[in-house]
Symmetry: C2
């Protein structure tokens, strides 16, 4: 085995033997990786599940994201969807499709990113199974599970007029980071690794884009404090707030002074948690009030309808040529 080994060169079995020991173990796993399926505890007789893919091109660029970043981000985006139900993450399954020439060290560092991301954001959660395939396009598909500890799930549909709108986590940082990367880490039309590396040291928003740390534990705290609706901000505050408003049959009136900036209103990929609470609630964890639930439909900013799309739709926004 050398650092020059590739997935195609040493094959699936030898690659998995190098990756398995680096993966985080899950305290809820009764049977872990290695059999046809894993077996996970679901203490209250139910489990929460979500899945999300990261695809080279639309979702990341290898010049900017390290393998460790990708493992961390794949964990973060899925853990946030579990947290947004008010659940505690218990396990992940991870499918990877990679070109045959991918270095095994790249996949080891991806596993390290999963491990470090789980340890930082959801201690006790680990990888219970997976799949490894060959593909022309580097693709990661993560499925995450969570435990509601006997509580009802916090859906998008429970917000009622008179409640407060609150958020935990950064707003707009990931989008600012992406804008900075496009502005300052593209050299001769191509994403540039060295420029991205220095930019990352200078600007924390770049880290928020490449390896975000959403407030996963605050999902459970929100549920315990009586949150009435919740979702994770994957596509930007304005767009995701509109989804919550539509599901609940209400309008959300946001205060721009509390939101902070226009980029905070429209930028996606922060995976922060947006929740509504009864007005008298003492907000838990990192939650802060950014608006009120009112009767009506859609999103208002300081009382005025805000209809811009904002956010990020990879189907419309991604230019394959640009990579």
């Amino acid at each position: 085995m050398t650092t020059a080994d590739t997935l195609g060169g040493i094959g699936e079995g030898a690659t998995l033997a190098r990756i398995f020991p680096r993966l985080p173990s899950a305290s809820a796993a009764l049977v872990g990786p290695g059999d046809d399926s894993a077996l996970l505890e679901a203490p209250d007789g139910r489990f929460v599940v979500t899945t999300d893919m990261l695809v080279h091109g639309p979702d990341f660029r290898l010049a900017w994201s390290s393998a460790h970043d990708l493992g961390w981000k794949a964990a973060a985006s899925n853990l946030a969807d579990v947290a947004a139900m008010g659940a505690v993450p218990t396990g992940l399954v991870v499918a990877v499709a990679a070109p045959a020439e991918t270095p095994v060290t790249f996949l080891e560092e991806f596993a390290d990113g999963l491990r470090d991301g789980c340890a930082a954001m959801a201690p006790g959660c680990g990888v219970v199974g997976g799949d490894l395939s060959v593909s022309a396009t580097l693709t990661f598909a993560v499925t995450a599970f969570g435990d509601l500890e006997g509580r009802a799930p916090i859906l998008r549909s429970g917000a009622r007029a008179g409640e407060v709108v609150a958020v935990s986590g950064v707003l707009g940082a990931a989008a600012t980071g992406l804008r900075l990367l496009f502005a300052e880490a593209v050299v001769g039309g191509e994403p540039d690794a060295a420029a991205a590396a220095s930019l990352r040291l200078a600007r924390p928003e770049v880290l928020a884009q490449l390896a975000p740390t959403p407030p996963i534990a605050d999902g459970r705290l929100a549920a315990l404090a009586g949150a009435t609706a919740m979702l994770d901000l994957s596509d930007g505050l304005a767009l995701d707030a509109r989804r919550l408003a539509m599901a609940s049959g209400v309008a959300l009136d946001l205060a721009l002074s509390a939101v902070g900036s226009r980029e905070a209103l429209t930028g996606g990929e922060d995976h922060s948690l947006l929740a509504t609470f009864p007005a008298e609630t003492i907000l838990p964890g990192g939650f802060r009030v950014i608006g009120r639930v009112v009767s009506g439909a859609g999103v208002l900013v300081d009382g005025t309808a805000f209809d811009e799309r904002g956010g990020w739709d990879p189907y419309e926004d991604w230019n394959g040529e640009r990579g």
Copy 2:
């Protein structure tokens, strides 16, 4: 909306609105698609989980496989991993990454294949969530869940000398089908749709390759009958039997007359169930005896060590140029 609509043309939201109504619903789903996560019942406080990717190129060719086939096969291969634990499949989450020019009708037919496959192989099991992304390479990642109904999982490691080796489902049919396709449905060096369509009508092995129907319900029946070890035959009888033998610390001695043919011994992708049972067991469902568990290591055929690899390793076998 027209049949010429593409994923990139109408966007994620409109595409999902057309796919959702076609997906099978899961009787165990407490919260289905549409929120951050789904919520599934796990009646005995545990759940079985497995994940598997299908990638254009190594795993399928669009000239041979219809979208309906791909949905069916993605369901079948994952359901078989759940069945191989002795569990009853309860739900799937499905992530799809497709080129922007993919017709929406293609994704609708993929959903129909998932629905029809679940109805045929695991009634009550349905799709509880998913993800839709843009990618240069058409990729499906399915994660499946199952319920052990209070039983212990059937692992690969429980076989003991003196037991019988049994199989339920076809052996070698999928590999024969693939060989036929390469022999008779390649025109001018390229996979040919018309030739594959006529071949499919003439030879059932082609259907076993493109849309296999493994005996999912026999997984539960094997567990109820006292199976001591089980796995699903994804990489060929010889290779997978060796895995079971190694995990159990025994040897499996197979009878070629019962196995049927050399292709039945080495051909992969049938997703049939291989299990061991105490010798006196009246075998359930479609199980039939093909050998005995003996002391030693590895796989024997009629008493002689069989060391050929057999099976299919996409890292070593796939030639990207050949597509």
